[in-house]
């Protein structure tokens, strides 16, 4: 096992903090978005914002696959889980997300739905192999990081002629959400972009939003030093007055990404489907749909699972928080009604949600 110990080293992190203090122009403010929930978590868990100069503000973006699921998709999942002879497989995080009526997959489980928590889509495929008389549905969520494994599972199902395995796809595109946030006009001076997404897609997809919106962008990894270095690189870009797409994550990331993963992804999925994101609304062509050849693995093609418009929970500021327009303590529900044990909005459910990270690591009362 490789440990990126150097990238956790306290002294190195402190030395970057010193450079930031020196180089950040006291005559201006810097507003950077950490797009990915994983980055929000790294900032909070390592208390890195304590080390930043007062004029650098981090705004936490919509990159949490659970948080961006709208209530209506949860209702679709609940309905699918309650179908006869169905085993519904999901990541644990999704189980507690409530729909508009306060129901969740946990509620469905208590009503008798056969819901199994899995760690990977490949575990769900195994459930299908072991239960040939049941229909096994996997709730596929996530960005380009999880889509290739969902694709690989479908390719494997095809190879083994497994006919009782289905995907309920909520696979979405990072750059669509990024463009939506930028189009919204959230005042930003730069973006910390997710290194693991680029490990799959390569850097190219991020060049477009960087150029179109003229924003400095730095792709980085998930250790505390990665974050600090990315912020330093953004400060330097802003000071120079340019906008470039830079790669801090060179130790892991090649410009071109992972050709094999992309091949599997493109074989099975196309980026054509509109998708309603919590907080961002319907974004055109922002999710992956199964290609027609693989439609037999699509749960929404096999069963009638209409997505019915639902209101998001009242007073919940999830949508503003996802767009980076508000911080969790500005939500009237935060830490009071809405806590990890009783989440009102999805941002409080997932460990990578902004509200959960704030509650877990930054609450004061």
């Amino acid at each position: 096992m490789i440990i990126a110990e150097d990238y956790k080293n306290g002294e190195k992190i402190k030395s970057v903090a010193k450079l930031l203090a020196k180089e950040a122009d006291t005559g201006r403010n810097y507003r950077f978005m950490d797009f990915c929930g994983g980055h929000t978590y790294v900032l909070a868990k390592n208390a890195l914002e304590d080390l930043l100069p007062a004029n650098i503000t981090m705004i936490h973006g919509p990159g949490c696959p659970v948080c961006i699921l709208p209530a209506a998709r949860i209702s679709v999942a609940i309905k699918a889980s309650l179908l006869p002879d169905v085993v519904f497989c999901t990541y644990g995080d999704v189980m507690r997300v409530p729909n508009a009526k306060g129901e969740s997959l946990f509620t469905a489980k208590a009503q008798g739905a056969d819901i199994r928590m899995v760690y990977s889509v490949l575990d769900a495929l195994q459930v299908a192999r072991e239960n040939p008389k049941k229909n096994v549905i996997f709730m596929a969520i996530g960005f380009e990081t999880t889509a290739p494994t969902a694709a690989a599972a479908i390719l494997e199902a095809k190879k083994e002629a497994i006919t009782n395995f289905f995907i309920l796809s909520n696979q979405v595109l990072t750059t669509s959400a990024m463009q939506a946030v930028l189009a919204e006009g959230v005042p930003l001076d730069g973006i910390v972009a997710p290194g693991h997404v680029c490990m799959v897609t390569g850097l190219a997809p991020f060049a477009k939003p960087a150029e179109k919106y003229r924003k400095p962008m730095v792709v980085t990894g998930f250790e505390p030093l990665d974050m600090m270095l990315a912020i330093l690189m953004l400060v330097r870009q802003v000071n120079k007055g340019g906008f470039a797409l830079e790669n801090e994550y060179r130790r892991a990331l090649a410009f071109a990404g992972n050709a094999k993963a992309m091949a599997a992804l493109n074989e099975v999925f196309s980026e054509g489907r509109d998708f309603k994101w919590r907080g961002l609304g319907v974004l055109p062509e922002s999710s992956f749909a199964l290609n027609p050849v693989y439609a037999i693995y699509d749960a929404e093609a096999k069963w009638d699972l209409p997505e019915i418009e639902e209101d998001e929970p009242k007073a919940c500021e999830c949508s503003e928080i996802i767009k980076g327009l508000k911080k969790p303590p500005e939500c009237p529900l935060f830490g009071k009604v809405c806590r990890p044990e009783n989440p009102v909005g999805a941002c409080m459910v997932s460990g990578e949600g902004t509200c959960a990270a704030y509650y877990k690591y930054r609450r004061i009362g």
């Binding site: 306290g10 644990g92 609450r363």
Partner: protein
């Protein structure tokens, strides 16, 4: 907690805040008495002029056998440790088995022999027991309950409500070993690691500690389910204080750090079965740590932080880079990250 329509969920048993609510809402009101109200891992009561403690613990671990131990060894050591955390000398244990129909006799014998050996090694005999068998599908292999009694030597008064501002917080060794060892062989999650469970009886270490710093130890806790974070948060609540832990002082094996990294887990939340947390008067901290270093189970003991004032009873961590964050107490189980 919704006592009318609510249902018991798995997180109510995970040692986190959800379980705390279950105890507060259901069991404490139903059983209320002065001994239960002590709120410690063991109850202290007088018996013909002597002070005795009693404790009980049920074990439902999956898998039953794991690197460094098995459910039987865990059941013996776990109860010995709950007695020892009261500063008491463990005397006798009981063992109750709930076995699922179809469970292999060879495995049952292996577990029983392991329990016998653990009890003998610790010098605490299992003197009574009970066996029940349930229909196939109504249990998960075998569940074991152990209970134990012990006596508290003169002059020892430990309780979670005694810590005060300035007291030192001491940890006896590396955290997360047991949690990682068990996770590494849990179904659907197998990974290769050379970490083994730290399951061990702590009563001899405790005996050495109380001898080294008489009257200076405020309380002892073993950070089992819920890990170091659960124990510190419980103590902060019980003592009505805050705590400040220095991340770089907490011993963690590199293999445990690596496993946490790729699973997205926090070592502070992982279970331990052979470690203890001691809170003591600041002037006794050095003596106590040195004494612990002489005991096989305390070789890596270290002061990891101090008790501070905080009206909200939060536990905070100073990170290796100097920032400060909350050390959260898990609500339910930890979940691996998605991406």
């Amino acid at each position: 907690m919704d006592l009318i329509n609510g249902k018991v969920e798995l997180m109510h048993g995970s040692g986190g805040r959800a379980m705390g609510e279950l105890l507060k809402e259901i069991f404490f009101p139903a059983f209320d008495n002065e001994y239960l109200r002590q709120g410690n891992d063991q109850a202290l009561f007088p018996v013909s002029g002597r002070r005795m403690v009693m404790t009980t613990d049920s074990h439902v671990i999956s898998p039953l056998f794991f690197p460094g131990g098995d459910i039987g060894k865990l059941a013996v050591n776990g109860t010995i440790n709950d007695i020892a955390m009261g500063g008491a000398v463990p005397l006798y244990l009981s063992a109750g088995f709930i076995i699922e129909e179809g469970f292999p006799l060879a495995d049952l014998q292996k577990i029983a022999l392991s329990m016998g050996k653990a009890a003998k090694d610790a010098g605490v005999p299992i003197v009574t027991g009970d066996t029940k068998v349930v229909e196939k599908g109504k249990g998960d292999g075998v569940f074991i309950n152990t209970a134990g009694v012990g006596t508290v030597p003169e002059g020892i008064e430990l309780s979670g409500n005694k810590p005060r501002k300035g007291d030192a917080i001491i940890l006896s060794g590396t955290i997360g070993d047991h949690g990682v060892a068990v996770l590494s062989c849990r179904e659907g999650m197998e990974f290769t690691t050379n970490v083994v469970s730290d399951t061990a009886p702590l009563h001899r270490l405790v005996r050495a500690m109380v001898a080294a710093a008489p009257g200076k130890i405020k309380c002892l806790r073993d950070p089992t389910r819920g890990g170091l974070s659960a124990v510190l948060n419980e103590l902060a609540t019980q003592a009505k204080t805050g705590m400040l832990i220095k991340e770089k002082s907490v011993p963690i094996l590199p293999e445990v750090k690596a496993a946490c990294d790729f699973l997205g887990f926090d070592a502070f939340n992982l279970a331990n079965e052979g470690k203890l947390v001691a809170i003591c008067a600041p002037e006794a901290a050095d003596t106590l740590v040195k004494a612990m270093h002489h005991s096989p189970l305390g070789r890596q003991a270290a002061v990891i932080g101090e008790v501070v004032d905080d009206e909200n009873h939060l536990v905070r961590v100073e990170t290796v880079s100097g920032g400060v964050r909350v050390m959260d107490w898990l609500y339910g189980d930890q979940l691996p990250r998605i991406c």
